[in-house]
Symmetry: C2
Subunit: 360 residues, 2 copies
DNA sequence: GTGTCAACCGAAAACGCTTTCGGTAAGTGT
DNA sequence: ACACTTACCGAAAGCGTTTTCGGTTGACAC
């Protein structure tokens, strides 16, 4: 099933067959049809390695998968990768996965790619506030797009959600409901989305004339446990919050658990809003309010961007896209309950008295 | 940075350099050291395409990712893929993802692989009870391992969990707690794990001398919504179950929601046990009991198996491994509450009377 | 000395495709 | 009739490795 075979069979030269298959315009329509039919009849597939070696093109995209955070929004990740694979498949390109253990290893991989060019384009994610990868990839001249911005991404291609606006929207919503003491459970601020979300929260408070109490800003691991721990700390405060903006749904779910453990009902004594729009939130008791990203097909978009850069040499700057998250009210965002603040200090409440909030 | 350059630089032939790098034994230790040093100094990486073309080896593994079931245990999937990527990376092999839209497309991909051999080995999953892929891959002589068995997998390599035993263990446990009316919310039985799990449930009942009531066997979509729907059907029964064995944690979570919506408390009037050992189960109210698979590094294992088959020509049959799932008691498996069965028929209960079960 | 055997290395032929360059034949205008 | 395109195709040179097949040494025994 080599090009050779098919050429002899048709009494054409290899080069003609090759060009016919690749739709060169100096091949007559007749021969093209002829060759195509012969190819599909014999079930011919060009050898990718030979093709790539000869053409110098790799025709594949690699996604740098964030390592070892089992707690991160994994359903989203799967969705994302499926989207990428689908879009690439439509183009006939390959999709590989890179899972570096450390940032050093990641950079090493980049260098290898830049030398051998065995990967035509890259998609990175989980961007840091300051992220060397942008500079490195730029220097190595590897076409790439990032899922998430960074302070170093001005000249790069990216798609992202407006984290700051999302969290100021969220916070403003709670303020409008009547809350004044609104906490934020955030994450490690070296991650760009972390610091942006914290900023959004802070901005909304300031804008409403509420002074920001540093005690109300907790930093947590982005996991169930992290959220639970942070929530417990908040409840220990002399003047606990009546609402909490959580950096992720996972964290919010942990926080809900902590509330329950103290005999409180999420959305009653303490409102909770998460972020991610996870399906699971709908199935909790009570259902978790959250911010949802509109990226139904982020994977596909990312792929299309990087393909454009590889094939047409598009400028990265022409591919920057910001989306806005939308509030999804479910059951855990409600007006503060007057007099409830007393209940909030350390003492475990009797379940029967605190149970049965007004719901949504 | 070609082999050429480095050869001239050292005044050696290309072939010598190549063999030195690949550790052939007819190259002296001295020259090997020399070449190696030169290579690492210049930062040389062999061109993968050229290498693969010349050697005929692809040195990569592809994973056929199950498409479009957002509801499936995605954290596990991510974990799995990370494990695969890690193991492959250690070997210097590439990892690609295949995401076919249909079974036809999947088979087409297999044929392409068998022709061009651009993928050395395959990992498949989400096996069907009758799964043509086993026969096809065997005929095409593509080395592969499956994550999950099938009726057609006798001669193939696989790792799997003993689904039947897991569900008979689960059911037996509920029987021991005193339950007699034990339902099963299962899935589409064309999936192998689905039918196995249903079988385990049925076997345990029979073994305990309990006649199997077909009404108690619900088939649901493997999602939150599917679980909720099935649970509602069960509650509508004239004689509803006091315990439910759910095919997955997702389904169980949906079932819990349905219970709550009827004013019931999961683990009180109706015990619920899930399957998968999802982290999220720990954070529900009450925490969900479940069966946990011991596959901490299934990805790595799968990769090692297929590599062995590719490199050493190992027989598939020597790589079949069955694991046993373990019960994780959390909050939703308890003895039946006497007199509760009355509450179970359709009527919405007042929350205050039903709330506050004995917990775990 | 001659023969033998390792140990080492080089020349050159693959591997299966792409792409440049040039050549022929037919069409176009004058 | 001539030059000049245009349309189409073939020859051949890569692409950067691996691998087969010999060939040249030097050591060692006789």
């Amino acid at each position: 099933m080599k090009l050779n075979t098919i050429a002899q069979q048709l009494k054409l030269s290899e080069s003609t067959v090759s060009r016919a298959l690749n739709d060169y315009r100096d091949i007559s329509a007749d021969t093209k049809a002829l060759v195509r039919r012969a190819a599909s009849e014999t079930g011919y597939f060009p050898n990718p390695h030979a093709r790539r070696l000869a053409s110098g093109k790799a025709d594949n995209i690699a996604y740098v998968m964030p390592r070892s955070d089992g707690q991160f929004n994994s359903s989203f990740l799967v969705e994302l990768m499926a989207g990428m694979a689908g879009a690439l498949n439509a183009k006939g390109w390959d999709f590989s996965l890179l899972v570096p253990d450390s940032i050093e290893e990641e950079i090493e991989i980049f260098q290898k790619i830049s030398r051998t060019r065995h990967v035509s384009g890259l998609i990175i994610s989980r961007t840091l506030t300051r992220d060397v990868r942008f500079k490195i990839l730029h220097e190595l001249k590897i076409p790439f797009v990032s899922h998430g911005r960074s302070m170093d991404s001005a000249a790069a291609a990216w798609i992202d959600v407006d984290n700051a606006t999302a969290f100021s929207d969220m916070t403003a919503h709670l303020i409008e409901l009547g809350h004044r003491r609104i906490a934020h459970i955030g994450g490690e601020e070296s991650y760009n989305f972390s610091s942006q979300r914290a900023r959004g929260w802070r901005d909304a408070l300031v804008k409403a004339g509420i002074t920001v109490d540093p005690d109300l800003h907790q930093k947590a691991e982005l996991s169930f446990a992290g959220g639970a721990f942070a929530m417990r700390s908040l409840l220990m405060l002399a003047d606990p919050p009546t609402a909490v903006c959580c950096i992720s749904d996972h964290v919010a779910i942990g926080a809900m658990r902590a509330l329950r453990d103290c005999g409180l009902v999420p959305g009653h004594e303490v409102s909770v809003i998460g972020y991610d729009g996870l399906e699971i939130g709908n199935w909790l008791e009570p259902p978790l309010s959250t911010m949802k990203q509109p990226l139904q097909s982020a994977g596909q978009q990312l792929v299309e961007i990087v393909i454009n850069m590889v094939e047409n040499g598009d400028s990265p700057k022409d591919h920057q896209k910001l989306y806005r998250a939308k509030l999804v009210r479910r059951g855990t965002d409600n007006p503060p309950v007057p007099g409830c603040s007393k209940h909030l200090s350390r003492s475990r409440q009797d379940k029967n008295t605190t149970f049965g909030g007004e719901g949504k």
